[in-house]
Assembly symmetry: C2
Homo-oligomer: 477 residues x 2
């Protein structure tokens, strides 16, 4: 019992200190360990298995749209990184530089890729000749490095895992269409699989990607009312194509520049899952992404027949991802551990249950208990997982809606940001000066100009001049 | 027709210049492109899809033995790399060094992982406390960097993709058992999936991994008679555990050192597939690993009904990985292209075939043509793929056996190495001096001491002293 208490006590409550709660969950749910290089992380099996499920599902969705996977080198020569002016300005200050190979200094230093636009462009310039070569719909799964000053597991680390899609198209229209298509794919994935509602919109020029003509984003609201940028999709127009000389012969055999896009999602999503769904007992995993969906926990497992029944139930439930916790820990300890790890459903089975021909199933999010006949087990588990997936999305949506405010003037804006953590919807004139002032005075940044626009007033919340757009603002991770 | 000729003409014949043939296939089958960093490669969709299939199948086999995936950082601090003496001596001369993060010089330089033993050990030292924490059966899929002087796509490159398994066990016996288990898993995979027969054996001390107590290997013979080390599995004993202080409390609560293993396979396997199975028309892919198993090629596709029939056949063959080549190239060009890419079966369908209710299927390896009734198509394709997979293994085995020789004295040994490319079996006294002399005088290295020993004579092929072991020797990639 002392040990069980320790497991539970070790988590700070969310209300008391959300940042500490996050760190505790990440550690106690055994998602990551810190590495000997500051700001890098070891992703442990429980964390990596979530990433594998994210990969599998996203990769399937990508391929359905015609995307093919490739692999580009880890290193970018300095001269290549410098080819596109805005891009190098955005990334050069935060890259890691390789200066020696073996015992020799390199003639030109190489950066460890912070993102691979320049590598894809260099490749496309050689690989694309004709309109028959288009579109190119390539993606890669890899790690990237950005030398961040302050780091937190999953949310901001010096190395992280991601996918980066890079496409090349014959026309500006096709590129724009692909940019939006991938943003919508991301948004659907977040809602359908991660049970995480997102706002779809466009970044302001100040917040867009270095080198992009337009950046689109999905923004999610965490439990503490802070925003998390959860995926971005960029339209580069022909800017990179001109910088790298990527041209194709059109049907009339005239040379034209291609139009490009890129889009990415990262291990940051694991941080989002934690902060959208977690509670004071630990992680709560949406059933569709949970590496283990059902944990069977035998009670009095040394009694004859209990473990056998547990394994038999595992076989019955073979359509799900199921484990039996047959370790020699106490049931109470196992309950806490399964909760900490966010396993959606636990099934308890002991001698009395076996006698009665039933089992107890407990939902992780609501802790609702049901006694179910063994011959209905499969059906009830399926219903419970489905209901939980659905309810988690609705609960997250309700939380987000309850923490989304409207500000009509700057005083109201400041008051909301200071006292009511969440999204603030407010009108904006389109001037970067207002964006800068809002950030300076409140700490909130423009999250996006949502596709679903609302007309809250005629004037900019900051300067009072004519408003152009409604913007979602918020403090962000 | 000029274009078709060009595609075929561009490949050097294997007999004429095997190295050039290899380079041509790699390029013409669109597996890789060269990158702007010397010695690194861009893996294109056709190459990466082979790697994805290798990953999927190996990963499934790993997980069946209880292995879990994790992710370790890309960087190793210099002090960590230096912790195990043999290991650092083996790797330090060929690592890439990061010396700057952003605009600042680093306090300690970091190497880009050439392999991750030191990272896993550093982690295990924190993560393992009790016998209950054992075994640890971890694996990661990632890229590694080794600053090689001479490079060739897939075979030797400065960056390559691989998996590296790292396990920790309570006893020496368990570690040895796991080392052999993974070697056998690798060998079975090569034979069953890649249709590539391998010799299973142990490396001599001279050839073993830096820091290992024993290295086991699988060695395959390429078409040109050179050997390729295709996978290795290392038993570290408790050497790393002592260097990194990885101890666990046993059941009597006494501290003991763990015993460790590591094992890896790489994108080199793609090079092996090319060099074992390829021919003068390009790549020949074993059906089980081929990203596209069947290419349907419509003849006179502009005639009414032809393309529809082709798509209908694709649906009929949905149990396989099938594509329809509906581009506007000529059928002859499509045939050459499908051959170059090694697609196991092509199906030809034209107006006359439709009228007759049949199709033509052509096997890539033998070019055997069959006319098959449409209602038997699925069955015939399945039979053809199965037969091809089996025959490819047998053909490769026959080739290897026909190029495996026995040498009973040094003159015979030299003669074989000089005149008959292949494996040489010969007895060895166990002295490294003989190994060195053989390498100096013939260019052949010891490939392995095979598990299946044969007694060829009583004396070492080099020095004439008492022989201990039979060794496979050969020139190697």
């Amino acid at each position: 019992m002392a040990k069980e208490k320790k497991l539970v006590e070790a988590i700070t409550s969310m209300e008391e200190d959300f940042a500490q709660w996050y760190t505790d969950v990440v550690k106690k749910a055994e998602l990551v360990d810190y590495a000997s290089v500051k700001g890098c992380m070891v992703i442990k099996p429980a964390g990596y298995a979530i990433w594998e499920n994210i990969q599998k599902e996203l990769d399937r969705r990508f391929k359905e749209t015609g995307v093919e996977n490739v692999y580009m080198p880890l290193f970018i020569p300095e001269s290549l990184l410098q080819r596109e002016k805005d891009h190098v300005e955005g990334f050069a200050p935060e890259v890691a530089w390789v200066t020696h190979g073996g015992l020799e200094p390199l003639q030109e230093r190489l950066c460890v890729r912070p993102t691979s636009e320049t590598l894809f462009c260099d490749f496309y310039a050689r690989d694309i000749q004709s309109h028959r070569d288009l579109p190119k719909l390539y993606n890669q799964w890899c790690s990237v490095v950005r030398w961040e000053k302050t780091t937190r597991p999953f949310l901001r680390s010096r190395e992280f895992l991601w996918q980066e899609g890079h496409t090349a198209h014959a026309t500006a229209e096709e590129a724009e269409e692909r940019t939006i298509q991938m943003l919508n794919l991301y948004a659907d994935f977040c809602e359908e699989v991660l049970a995480m509602p997102v706002i779809r919109g466009r970044k302001t020029d100040k917040e867009k990607f270095a080198g992009a003509e337009a950046t689109y984003t999905i923004e999610a609201l965490m439990h503490d009312g802070k925003a998390l940028q959860s995926g971005t999709s960029h339209n580069f127009g022909d800017g990179f194509a001109k910088a790298f000389g990527i041209q194709y012969a059109n049907k009339e055999n005239k040379l034209e520049y291609v139009h490009q896009t890129s889009w990415g999602m990262t291990t940051r999503l694991i941080g989002a899952i934690i902060m959208v769904h977690g509670d004071d007992s630990g992680l709560v995993l949406p059933p569709r992404i949970a590496p283990t969906q059902v944990m069977i926990i035998p009670i009095q497992q040394k009694k004859a027949g209990v473990l056998d029944k547990a394994y038999e139930m595992k076989d019955m439930l073979k359509g799900f991802r199921v484990k039996v916790d047959d370790t020699d820990k106490s049931p109470g300890w196992k309950f806490s551990e399964a909760e900490m790890r966010g396993i959606p459903v636990r099934v308890e089975i002991g001698p009395k249950d076996i006698e009665a021909g039933h089992a107890v199933i407990v939902r992780r999010d609501t802790r609702e208990k049901q006694i179910v006949a063994l011959d209905e087990l499969t059906q009830k588990v399926e219903e419970t997982l489905d209901a939980m997936q659905k309810d988690m999305l609705e609960r997250a949506r309700a939380h987000r809606d309850a923490h989304t405010y409207e500000a009509h003037d700057f005083a109201e804006f400041k008051d909301i940001v200071e006292n009511k953590p969440g999204f603030v919807k407010a009108m904006w004139c389109g001037d970067e000066a207002c964006e800068n002032m809002i950030k300076e005075e409140t700490g909130a940044t423009s999250r996006c100009m949502p596709f679903k626009q609302e007309h809250l007033s005629d004037t900019c919340v900051c300067c009072g001049k004519t408003a152009k757009t409604m913007v979602y603002w918020g403090k962000a991770y």
